[in-house]
Amino acid sequence: MTNTIQILSIEKTGKESSLQKEHNNKSIKIIDGYFFSRNLDDQKFTKISKLISNDVSQTILTKKNVNKVLSSYCNFNWVVEIKFLPGVTDNIATTVKEIIKDNLKSSFKSFELGSTKIILIKGRKEDITKISKNEANPLIQTIKIYPFKQYLNNFKKNQFKIEKVKLPKKKYSKKEINLDISDYNLSLIGKLGIEENDKSRRGTLGLDLESLKTIRNYFSTIKRKPTDVEIETLAQTWSEHCKHKIFSAKIDDIQEGIFKKYIKGATEKIIQLRKDNFCVSLFTDNAGGIEFNKDWIICHKVETHNTPSALDPFGGAITGIVGVNRDCLGFGKGAKPIANTYAYYLADPNKKYQLYRQKNKDPMLPANFIAKGIISGVRVGGNCSGIPTPQGNVYFDDRFAGKPLVFCGTVGIIPKKIKGKLSHKKKANPGDIILMAGGRVGKDGIHGATFSSEELDPNSPVSAVQIGDPITQKKMSDVIIRELRDENLYSSITDNGAGGLSSSIGEMAKESGGFIVNLEKVPLKYNGLYPWEIWVSESQERMTLAVPPANVKKVINRFNARGVEATIIGKFIKKEKAIVKYNKTEILNLDMEFLHEGYPKLNLKTSFPKIKKEKKKIIKKSSLIDKLHKLLSSPNIVSKEFIATQYDHEVQATSIIKPLQGEGRVFGNATAIKPLFDDEKSIALSQAAYPQYAETNPYDMAGCSIDTAYKNLIVSGANSKKIAILDNFCWCSSDEPDRLYQLKEAAKACYDYAVAYQTPFISGKDSMFNDFKGFDKTGKSVKISIPPTLLISSIGVVDKISHLTKMTSDDGDILLVLGNTRNELRDSVYSKIIGYEKSKNPVVNSNDALRTYRNFEKANKLGIINSAIGIDLGGIGIAVTKMAIASKKGLTIDLKLKNKISVDQFLFSESQSRILVSLKKNKLANFKKIFKGSDYTIIGKCTGSDVVEFKDNKKIIRGKISDFAKSYKQNIKGL
């Protein structure tokens, strides 16, 4: 009899070798453990072991063999046992349970099961502690360290334990909250949460005093006290995360707020000018939709998952990516996700920042742990879901030490019409059943929406962490997209993200009028959740559907046949009321109008910030080739190949411009997928952000982001009339007037450049408080704010395969730089690494830029361009080196041609709106005709040798391509 199955891989696993390398210790072995809630007899033990292991590569440990098997490796002396905390999603355990149930059928009934990682080590106790810190996250896992002898003893005495969720047995009785209390006590409810009977607090609601007073007034008008569920629901619905109060607030003299004036305003202006059908669905749905061809719509959405990723990088990132996948599933009647995008803004993984959320305790996770966790989270989420992840980038800056930024995006595709009806239109009708499909509800992510709107401080709740289960979502997604949608079996659909059911049902009910929900019907992961917890839980992998009663049985059967749970939890009604019941007791009854629009509107003022004068740095004396190597190997320019190769970008067989380009595999600025087998049109994707320019000039920072994101698509071959953009503002301290000034300036630039380029904003999201308030290692209090970051994601249609460009040049090609190079080195990679003298930030002149882009587009369609790279970080110097590395062909660059600026300014300035192109010699005449009156410089040619050479009047400087490639492909330290 035993209650544990422990499996050992005979050969060294990848995880073991990376641990061994990292800790310089060859004596590390990992065991996969499964702890059962009941004992297994010998027969069951053998049978189950066989089901979950492989005879060839693994050994099953038993009481009899454990000593002998393990001592054959070495004399281990310590054991680290890592288990999920009770209630945390344990995907492996779920799979094992399914295998056992399927195979043993009814002969083995109810049992609980937990998966465990057991690390055996020979080493000193200090080393063991270090390893355990690197391998586990105390927020979601328990870590036990004990001597190896005790481990053997546990084996003999059968003492391995699974920990179940032990929620106190509690009977819910309707709880009314008295708001007729002092302002101070009222504000405590907002900041710390509702007080329980035992005087403990539930956790922050993120409601300010004014909002609480508004709630008090509403209830005094309807002459009753609010219930706890009502207050929780209002907190979720009114959160900054859900309502974007700052973007919609009156700000200075802008009555309608910056979203209406600048973002939506730009799109409305563009639609008015364009008069075409390009924009299909904007701002109102889970994602923004544009026309792909006459029969298909594509949609795009980019989300951030910053705070969860700071607390649990892997969990935060995986839920970020599978969460934004659901935004596509929830676009219109359900779009199929066809590509993921990512952008990470991280602290230097090689540095130790040693930050604490509380004085001398509660440390922030190390920067490299955060970086690695985020990268793997998106890998597992994307790869397991079968959605290619071709497009992304990573940027490093110390100011992300307190909060990493994790942008996750998804592109989806949906036929324009389904059974004759427009697919992007949906409407929950009165009488429709509310169906919840997918995963079950637990305590995951409770207070996520209210808390991601607040700064990260000691009171940040731990249950705000969620873990994704991409397979459950994949199963659910397949049923929706392949079976239910095309038969028109439901009238509306949306995803459960921030705010859970309270948010998804609340939003959807706007279509019908109102809703009645019976919370006791919601399937739970474990018993003992309070109704308010069920209502706001952010457990993942769930969609909410509005299903006409006649179809309900069919829909549920279809889900069940594919191993997916689906449950009736209420119905939509005509009356504009939000009603929630729990075992027949009404615990929420609000007017829909108050629920959605009742929150007090903000009135914001801005003030001009002090701009720090950058100290003059001394330019480090080094040769040109040396500088090129330094820049190429700097973290923000160096190749991100190690991410591209671990993210499956080939699945769905759509990849047409890959993340790694040319024989020399250079990480590209844009990628493209061809989503339909029967249409040669492609979708080009790119993105850009310039947090490094933000503090000096937020207006031009935003201009640069839009220009780069747009330029990269033009360079890739997209049709300029079919490009749309998305805005993701990640700001800091958005209650401070100078930060709001920067925000207003950036938003104004969004309007100006989007209108100039005729690129509508189709979707966007903002995250306004990316600040860390805590302590350094000496116990001194610190605040670290991210630099304001505006990520612009661009999506465009490439009409023909032949329009897609490449970045590799051929022997004899002439090299040209399109656009103007100015002395714009301020805040550049060069100025950070080498130093700078007096210089400016890049400024985008949209007229000049558009002239270049239109001409480029024309020349490319005529086949005049042989290769092209958008010039960005590191300037011309880096662009030409990348071209040489990609094509493995030498180039010669003539430095005499620069005018009025120094060689370094010419080579490393980050002036915007420039493209490096190569042409076949015989195309030059045609090129000149097209580019008449436009700025361009012939800078050299492709020699086909193995060196890049730079010539001026006196000398020739050479660097070998293979050496440049080595610098460019260096590992990022700490990763």
Partner: protein, 254 residues
């Protein structure tokens, strides 16, 4: 000519796999494993059984294991039957891992899985293009092919084979594909030519009849010329190398 392409529980390459078969002339259907378990007789309508790539059960308990156990419990006899007829079976990537876990390949000792698919030597997921050479020309899937340029995308692509079994695999000529380097010679385990460290550079195995092929690379992702990296330098061909595998299936029944 009909092909059944399996789906469900995290398999995710079914659409492009079916498309490849359709283009070369098959009629086909994507069938959810639960539907197949409900009605296994439908297998009689098909000549080809394809298990596409994906992440069935999220690779938990080892890639391909959980799905193999589901098939073992519910469909094993029918699948063995299928393999003994003049029919074809292909498992690609996760499909390959499932076939190996089922023991349908190499199927020298008919009872248990004889091989394990273990984690790549690099310890990380590898999505990259590789060159493979055909070793076993007698398999209908691989006839008249010499070298293929195909992408791999997997975390567990290393074939772990006991020495004695490897000997008989070689003696029976069951190695289907092997990774080669840029000089068209065996990669000899060298990364990135051999992306996972697989012994003897094995990228695919067949059963003794050659009608069952378990391959780690993805032919359906190298189907059209524009799938191939840097295709802009060579736009003369319509198809990529993966096409040849599907054409061979068609020729087998022609």
């Amino acid at each position: 000519m009909n092909v059944l392409v399996l789906s469900g529980y995290g398999i995710n390459c079914e659409n492009e796999t079916l498309h490849a078969f359709e283009v070369v002339g098959f009629k086909g259907k994507i069938v959810h494993i639960n539907d197949l378990i409900q009605n296994p007789k439908q297998l009689n309508n098909y000549q080809v059984f394809a298990i596409p790539g994906g992440f069935s059960y999220g690779d938990d308990t080892g890639s391909g294991n959980a799905m193999a156990k589901k098939i073992l419990t519910n469909l094993y006899d029918q699948l063995i039957d299928f393999s003994l007829k003049d029919k074809l079976i292909i498992g690609i990537c996760n499909g390959c891992q499932i076939l190996i876990n089922l023991g349908l390949v190499p199927s020298l000792n008919k009872k248990d899985p004889e091989i394990a698919m273990i984690e790549n030597k690099s310890g990380s997921y590898e999505c990259r293009w590789v060159d493979v050479k055909v070793n076993n020309n007698k398999s209908p899937w691989l006839k008249n092919i010499t070298i293929l340029n195909l992408p791999v995308a997997h975390q567990e692509g290393q074939f772990m084979i006991p020495i004695n079994l490897l000997k008989s695999i070689k003696a029976n000529n069951l190695i289907g594909l092997q990774y080669i380097n840029n000089h068209k010679k065996l990669a000899k385990g060298q990364f990135p030519f051999n992306p996972n460290g697989s012994k003897d550079d094995i990228a695919a195995l067949t059963n003794q009849n050659g009608n069952v092929l378990a391959m780690m690379p993805h032919p359906e992702r190298a189907f059209y010329h524009y799938h191939v990296p840097n295709w802009q330098n060579n736009t003369s061909k319509k198809f990529g190398d993966g096409y040849k595998i599907f054409m061979n299936a068609k020729k087998f029944f022609a």
